[in-house]
Subunit: 355 residues, 4 copies
């Protein structure tokens, strides 16, 4: 008997939503101008302006790292400092792309809870940064990851508080929205409320992690931040000549609220898992489950037994499992995971009692 494979490793391991693939085929007709001068990219501008209720500039890009690094480079001088959480993707997982694109930009980590930057921590850091002193990296931007890398979601008030501090000091507010749809699904507000109305100047608009395949986007709310982005992208090899195939994906992604439906499915799976395992003694959920990820503390033996059951996930420590739900995580997957946890925790407890 073969064990089924149940995969909670990463959204990156998952499939694309079929709607996005279909959009590629639809776009594959006739000729179009290259490098973003096509009709699909023009339509994307209009479409996201409607979604965000604002005159946005949209730049499709291959990856979230590209979106983050270029958005920040366009917000900084080479002498700039970017404030972020120690857990932020730009700090942990992008090979210092921010500094590469920025020409030496410095990342400055601000302690916070569950991967968040707080307005207070930002204010303190700026106050002692040495603004105007040539030997000090100059405060330039703040990076908020929404949902955070630990699965939490900033409230609108939290974003607005950070933005107020940032703008008062002349900093740009960048939101790494790799999981923006998941956050939005949680918050239940409009895209505008979760972004520029709360002070966000430029947004890395995540698609890949929520049913996309090969494209994310930069969405710029502050017009002057857009000026240099085209150049940054071009000289980094980030501008597809056949841009229509990227733009078409993103148009399909937001059509008929597909993006929000996909995100709700992923979030619902995470919520369901949390609800079932929270009551179990010996299982501790370490961060708020507000999007599609769970960070769970369990005995090492339980982790090993889950793996033996063919459940895939990443260990982030001897007792720490990260569980990531995707748009196509099924009820059966949820049941398999939570069933296995219950079983192995109970067995471990029985063994301990017998010992």
């Amino acid at each position: 008997m073969t064990k089924s494979t149940i995969d909670f490793r990463s959204v990156n391991c998952g499939r694309a939503a079929p709607e996005l693939l279909e959009a590629l085929t639809t776009a594959n007709t006739g000729t179009e101008l290259g490098y973003g001068a096509d009709t699909f990219t023009a339509a994307l501008q209009t479409r996201l302006a409607e979604v965000f209720e604002a005159p946005v500039r949209v730049f499709p890009v291959p990856t979230g790292t590209a979106a983050n690094a270029v958005a920040l480079a366009a917000s900084c001088t080479p002498f700039g400092a970017v404030y972020c959480s120690p857990d932020a993707h730009i700090n942990t997982s992008e090979c210092n792309a921010t500094s590469f694109f920025g020409g030496g930009t410095k990342l400055v980590q601000l302690a916070g809870t569950f991967g968040k930057v707080s307005a207070d921590a930002l204010e303190s850091a700026i106050a002692t940064a040495g603004t105007g002193l040539a030997h000090k990296s100059q405060p330039a931007a703040v990076n908020l990851v929404q949902a955070t890398d630990l699965g939490a979601v900033y409230s609108i008030d939290e974003i607005a508080a950070v933005s107020r501090v940032a703008h008062a000091q002349g900093l740009r507010v960048h939101m790494d929205g790799a999981r923006f749809a998941n956050a939005l699904a949680r918050l239940g507000c409009t895209p505008a409320e979760a972004s520029w109305r709360a002070g966000v100047d430029v947004l890395s608009f995540g698609v890949t992690k929520n049913g996309g395949l090969l494209a994310d986007a930069i969405v710029v709310f502050a017009p002057d931040a857009a000026t240099s982005i085209g150049f940054h992208l071009c000289r980094a090899g980030l501008v597809w000549s056949k841009m229509r195939f990227a733009s078409a994906q993103i148009i399909a992604y937001v059509a008929d609220d597909l993006w929000l439906r996909l995100a709700r499915q992923a979030n619902a799976a995470a919520t369901a898992i949390a609800a079932r395992i929270e009551p179990i003694a010996g299982v501790t959920i370490l961060a708020p489950v507000q999007a599609n990820e769970l960070f769970i503390d369990m005995a090492p033996a339980v982790l090993s037994n889950l793996e033996k059951d063919g459940i895939l996930f990443y260990r982030r420590g001897p007792r720490l499992a990260r569980i990531v739900c995707r748009w196509d995580t099924s009820d059966a997957d949820v049941a398999a995971l939570t069933g296995s946890i219950s079983l192995h925790v109970a067995a471990a407890a029985a063994a301990a009692a017998a010992a």
Copy 2:
């Protein structure tokens, strides 16, 4: 009566081959590891090793600019000089990406014919470059565009001659193969003969211009040149998390010699155009038509009349039209273009005679 639109502007304006789109759908099943650790990317390594008859390393990338810039950055120190044709894409159309990725790498232009670098010009330039002198950019790599930006194709002997000079002086040989398939179709040799056997160390393997949509690749023949490429790509945001969808495209591209069939179609269209217009007095083809592009000198009035006929192309000067053929350029397109040229040239001649 509407005039039909006939488009000779650029390969970038064209469609993708349906086989590549189908491959995306085929790849969209089950889960796969992210960032290139998937089974499709592994298969791509194997597949291109067969195509090139060598143990290559393959890195799918979004664009040819990315391929060029990263391939060169991996071949240079920040103090390096890259020799290229003045017409080379890296010099004219990439916003100095080479220097950005290289941390200050200098492009040094070598005069040559039809966009080619000659072994002699390279040898002279290196001899006077000031090797070892700290105030001089150090010779590091040479860039060959195949087919060139003016539509010519390097012979294998020409490549080998440049490579001998380069390797004798410790330089890397980079081939910008945005039109590698077109060149190969022209040369009629194996991929190995046109690349590493002639001395090429690293190849920008073009897909987009020949029926691709969103991916090209770096193919590395010199193993030590591959070491840093993964890091360069990651910190530039050039590594897709769902890499399988890029690799699947390229696998489909080389399957059953699709790439060579597509290239032959484009080349054949260009050759047919050349054959029909060469005899026309008042029409001069300015560069060898060896791939899929033509550079044609005609009277300005003829150019304007072509445009009025709904034929799309780019002007590169008051009398200079660039005509680019795609894999799906039809016989009707060819007939329309050459018919219009004949007509308007004859009309212009008649007008001149009458005057």
Copy 3:
């Protein structure tokens, strides 16, 4: 009656040793080749090889920041991580020069005591850095400041322990020796024992802070680390054409142990201050006084009164004074400072008792 000005702000505020100025005049005769090909620079190589009992390469540079940044750039790839203390000059006071020169190098801070990096902290950090993973900055070098930015001196064993960890993992050991002479004077060992014999690969050899005027130097012990330094320096505008005037300063600096005599004078002043104020209740010295700097906790009113007495120093917090001694800090300066502290602390105590 005017109050005298007594200056404990920084070594940078101080004079140059007259011997260095005299050396400039001596060097100002005849013609010499430019850019370091002169006889003075050649003699400097020989002279420092004797001082360090090793075949060193010496590069005179204008500043310690230049020395640090170039030494580290020559030790790293652009994807590299440099480990350092949070208090390290490269982290606090060089406008991220390390990242600028390195092309995106990341500084990673390691907690430690009194500005030191510990072998254990380094080992832990490397172990979890993700060596070989393309999305992670790669461990490349460790930076030790000797004496530290908080006035402490690494023991030879401490340096050797860090070096063992670093070298076992392929990292370079860089010592920021802006106060190397002060550390050496404290340790009482040879320059070789305090540097390469303990594992240091490349040393920023401080001159300016210890009686110099316009030059410091990079001293390279690991021959292969020297290869790229000349290029890094040249393209940063750090190579004087009339290098003899820089080299002559440094030759004079080490002649007849001048450097050690100057450092001993500065250290002795600091030690004398510490000895006199340690017994005073209400005065706490916050870090070991092992070189020429003291960090002293006193009541804010005392700090203000010192300032009213015309004693110059920098506040590093509401209760924290940094006192820096120079080679020409006089006994009278020491007496004035310690006398004022005693007086004002006593007055404050009396006032408190009366209240």
Copy 4:
């Protein structure tokens, strides 16, 4: 019998003017704030404002390369193009420092006569540069070397013409004034007329080549160009902590018109050489002798015989000698050189006649 050494190799081989050394000793008293906050640097601002009759910002720097690269970096985006002569120092002798400091800035060479950039060539180049196109480096600045690297001097009208074109298109005008004093001595105009009144925005103010030792300066006329310069300098390690010793040199350099006297001496020597050798058949002066350098075509045998006579100079080709005069080039040096040339040319002619 020893032959005397007569050195026409480079100004970099020469001595410093004693006045500058004396200024160092004078400055070596008391304490001063570091990093340019000292009274000497403040006085330098005032002094050069008087010299230039304008509210300049002055930044002392170690080298002309630093001055050039930082001045240009402050005038460009990373996507910028800097126009210059192929012979310009920034293009031939600075290891691409412009690109390093600029984060990828591109140098674009404009053909011209005797190392000059012409207004016409600049206008043509800008017109075809592709302003606003993201794949093209954007016109940002023009670099004029005064006197040029071939010994010619721009007239004020020539500078003004270039500046008009540049400013009309939004470019900055940078003057590399490594030999600014020599040019000024030639032009006989005021420093203001030769710089900002003719449109120069930022000037590399050369000191080293005209009797300096370890410092040059950036002089900024366009206030907004100064904003970022302090940061660029700091993170490149170009800001001396004991800045007073740099500023004092430059104050001495301009005191009592010392700089102009030194330059006139050097120019006079060059003029005298030109006057004596111009009549000689077989000797051709290849560029206008307008400053302190001569480029002379002579038979290879003559060049060799000069070397045998102990006359030092650099060969720039088989028949091409570069002769550089310094402020302390003596009448005896001039006589020795011109005498030797006369002698050996005559001997060669006699030998040819006898053959």
